[in-house]
């Protein structure tokens, strides 16, 4: 929570990009999440590895995997 609060307050001082300036930010390849076509890769990684979550796959439940 401390890290998030620090980021919240400090990064707000970054340059504000206006809506009409977001032509690059709005490119489909710039989206800040995994692509929908990556879901099956994320699924087998959850099955075969111990780590889950952190924006890199499902956070739990739904399978008998560790």
């Amino acid at each position: 929570m401390l890290i998030f609060s620090f980021l919240l307050t400090s990064l707000q001082s970054c340059t504000v990009v206006r809506e009409y300036e977001k032509i690059y930010i709005n490119d489909p390849d710039m989206i800040l999440s995994a692509r929908s076509s990556e879901r099956f890769e994320n699924a087998f990684q959850v099955y075969r590895e111990a780590a889950v979550g952190g924006g890199g796959g499902k956070t739990g439940g739904g399978c008998g995997c560790n």
Binding site: F4, L7, L8, D29, F44, A51, G53, G55, G61, C65
Partner: protein, 480 residues
């Protein structure tokens, strides 16, 4: 006349202005349907059902349909349904004994059958091996799942709340999940903060390895009943014995598994070309966290086998095709687990042809595992419609406190597993993808136009010998 024209112009301007103040862009303009399919295959030499040795050959085919539709200007409903069918040589060895001898010629070997008399004829004695699939019913299974989610955006589009529910089912496992969250955008939508929570309430219908299932069912007299009736058990020297007693085994009294997750998200546009996000999860699990059919063999216990005595000396070698060691127990793991993953994404728009997508995650849990994940993808726009996607992923993890390889656990331990998914390893994943986008959706099925076609291939190699390949194909349609 000029006053009349001025008045008309003024009234028209006012009318247009008032219409502009009523205009609100829909969160989602049109209904979208996405079809995703994949084919996955793997192989390795550390089957957890064989206690840490044996084939890990597995194939899986999956099909998903995702429907996303606007209910009105502010609300979006998403329905996600799918089916996954797998075939696994490893899972088949929950009951590893072939049908020819074990069932006296009858076909069904699944260990949930009532006990049947077994033929003591040496020519039809049951055999098995951790290095090949058996014909048991546990060789294949299907997973069905259904997820539904709903989101609502405020008038300003700066506040979004969402809720979701899910259900999935396979032969021995059912999951029900619920969750919800909120997101707040500010700083002219340059900053977003989100909070999500979810809970999964899962239930095992435990299946145990055949030899332990029979012991649990018949007690100390199990060698003369059910599956073992008339079956010869061998000791380490290949001599017949009746000394096999897995007294450490008992069926799990608790069969539920619950998972709880809270996720904090933060994203920030840093420049016109760079944006980053941070995701922190706090995860808790409780209940039956071990898998009921993962065999365990103790170093301090005698070894017992069914099959060909001549193959016992090279049991751990793939040359062994006709002898299977009887388990001492199944894996035992704590009934709670705390996980803390932190993920960071950074995407940079290099130029009209190149974009750099990166991801890093650090993971910690209280079973002794820490891991690091690093992922990089470099979309290359060959043309306005066609993009190539080379990608690379590296993963490294430490071993769980309760892990040991085949035959290296002791019966005095409280928790033990030989699941190599919980061992120390690193992995490399190389992939290539291609994406075609038709902005004008010229190809149509009914009122839906084809927007994108995606094709991905990845090769995954783990340092313990597991290797896998996955191909994913996707189509996205938008209603016109």
């Amino acid at each position: 006349m000029k006053y009349y024209l001025f008045g008309l112009f003024a009234s028209l301007s006012l009318s247009i202005f008032s219409q502009n103040t009523d205009y609100k862009k829909r969160v989602l303009e049109n209904t979208e349907i996405e079809l995703l399919s994949s084919y996955y295959s793997q192989d390795g030499v550390h089957s957890v059902i064989g206690g840490g040795i044996g084939t890990e050959e597995l194939t899986d085919a999956t099909l998903s349909i995702i429907l996303t539709t606007p209910l009105n200007d502010d609300d979006v409903l998403t329905i996600d349904a799918g089916v996954s069918a797998y075939t696994s040589a490893s899972s088949s060895n929950i009951n590893p004994y072939n049908s020819t001898g074990a069932s006296g010629g009858e076909g069904d070997d699944d260990d949930d059958d009532e006990g049947r008399g077994r033929n003591n004829n040496a020519n039809s004695a049951p055999t098995g091996t951790p290095w090949a699939a058996s014909s048991g019913a546990s060789r294949s299974d299907e997973l069905f799942y259904l997820n539904a989610s709903y989101s609502h955006s405020s008038e300003s589009r700066n506040f979004i709340w969402n809720t979701h529910a899910s259900v999935s089912n396979e032969y021995d496992y059912t999951s029900v999940g619920v969750g919800g969250g909120i997101s707040k955008l500010f700083n002219e939508k340059n900053t977003e903060v989100s909070l999500n929570a979810s809970a999964y309430f899962d239930t095992w219908r435990p299946i145990y390895p055949t030899e332990l299932h029979e012991y649990s069912k018949y007690g100390n007299g199990f060698l003369n009943q059910g599956f073992f009736q008339g079956v010869t058990i061998l000791d380490q020297n290949g001599n017949a014995t009746s000394a096999y007693r897995p007294t450490g085994f008992s069926q799990h009294s608790q069969t539920n598994r619950n998972s709880y997750a809270v996720t904090l998200g933060f994203s920030q546009i840093l420049t016109k070309r760079l944006q980053v996000s941070l995701s922190l999860d706090v995860l808790l699990q409780d209940g039956l966290l071990a898998t009921p059919y993962h065999r365990i063999y103790f170093e301090d216990k005698p070894k017992f086998y069914i099959g060909n005595a001549a193959s016992i000396p090279f049991y751990t070698d793939p040359r062994n095709q006709d002898v299977f060691r009887l388990a001492d127990d199944v894996e035992q793991l704590p009934n709670n687990r705390f996980k803390l993953p932190v993920g960071l994404r950074a995407n940079y728009y290099i130029n009209e042809m190149l974009t750099l997508r990166t991801y890093y995650r650090y993971y910690y849990d209280d079973w002794g595992i820490t891991s690091q994940t690093a992922n990089v993808e470099l979309p290359v726009k060959i043309t306005r419609s066609f993009t190539l996607l080379p990608m690379y992923r590296y993963y490294k993890q430490t071993q769980a406190d309760y892990f040991a390889p085949y035959n290296q656990h002791f019966s005095t331990e409280k928790y033990y597993t030989s699941d190599y998914d919980l061992s120390a390893f690193d992995s490399n994943q190389y992939g290539i993808g291609a994406s075609y986008t038709d902005i004008f959706t010229k190809f149509k099925i009914g009122t839906f136009g084809l927007k994108t076609i995606d094709l991905r291939y990845n090769n995954y190699e783990r340092s313990d010998g597991l290797n896998a390949n996955i191909v994913t194909f996707g189509l996205k349609f938008i209603q016109n």
